[in-house]
Homo-oligomer: 133 residues x 4
């Protein structure tokens, strides 16, 4: 999983880091930088979506048998509030792990000090695929 | 609109460029680079989602009255095929422009030479908000 | 709220009944009948979607000020397993209640005796509108 | 396909009828009755969602090889305007037909005489499954 994050250049370049992972979910964090922002200074929805999708992928991948990986079929992201602060935290939890299709829910929080606020929720549908060599 | 793209550091940094804009839609392009990829070498879903969302924002913004801007309420992205090639092209067209809520459809194509393949479709719901100073 | 259910002929005709409501959520139940099924004998996705959407509407409406109602802007439904059994139970909980836009998550369970199984999850985006006379 | 509609009690009971079907899409129609309405007299979102989902299922099923059927994995419905009039018309067109996963777009129109208005769009993701005996 750690290598899953490091192995995805876009996610590594974005600055997403793994915090915890387990069968009940995966957590990632991102230190917010000016390059992540949209025109108003808030974090761009694309950053939040990438983090929600990739963390969900990790949460499903943790349940895959050897030789199997996951690929996102679709995701849906609701942006609840403008995201600003020191960092984003994403928590992804499996809703259903299936043989061919899995569904994971992600929640993204904007954090400053020890305060945090839910800024987005996502539902991600993933397909089981053979692990690429 | 050109300044909308240039004014969003995340989108400018990603390499998304405006091609055309009008009341019937907005088109953007992105030259694919290794930094855009996920672990298998395809373009990461997060890049595609960011491009689909931002281009949709432009397509809705083109219809806003003076003093108004748009903010994404939610988006839903279907990934149809692995995206690889020389560049991504995104075409966003308004489905409904409303006073408070607008809906825009985006389609993302992966292009190599003059061949292109539809790799993703998105539906983006946007709210009209006062233009930030 | 009870009148909200009774006042919607499609929902009343479907057989959806209110169980509980409060600021933390709304719960409804539906006794499964043969008329609710699709070609394989499972409950049709359209029944599940209608129940998830309407129950979410109730959960948002419970937070509206006097004179305001809610209208569904969009919903997204994941069908996790074929739904069969004696009844469906739907639990809708607010994720974010906003001034103009609210988001509610619904979960639908298929129940037989005291066993129940999660069969669908939905995210519903609603707009605040003036209450119709 | 005609039997697909007739064979689904919920859809037959709703009053959805097949108009045309082909490899480029499927069209259905529904005569609006008071029993289809929500509390304000408009057609309930659940009716529109059921029609959009089921018609999409037909559009994907038309491409399935012998012995295969389709099951909805998820759908997302945007409600663009209140739906009222004499009838609903739904047109579903395949976006991508895959071996295991297909994506279909549905558009629902409210019609009175020869005027019609787009009231909803949906994206439906379907999985290929063995045809039930």
């Amino acid at each position: 999983m750690r290598s899953l994050l490091a192995g995805a250049p876009f996610i590594a370049g974005l600055g997403v880091e793994l915090v915890t992972m387990g069968s009940d979910g995966v957590e990632t964090v991102l230190a917010i930088e000016p390059r992540h922002s949209q025109q108003n200074g808030f974090v761009h929805a694309g950053v939040i979506g990438a983090m929600a999708d990739h963390t969900a992928g990790g949460a499903a991948f943790a349940h895959m048998p050897p030789g199997a990986a996951v690929l996102t079929v679709e995701y849906k992201l609701n942006l609840l509030r403008p995201a600003r602060g020191e960092r984003l935290r994403c928590r992804a939890e499996p809703v259903k792990i299936g043989r061919t299709i899995s569904v994971v829910d992600s929640r993204v929080y904007a954090c400053t000090g020890d305060r945090e606020e839910l800024v987005a929720t996502a539902t991600v549908t993933l397909a089981t695929v053979p692990l690429a060599e």
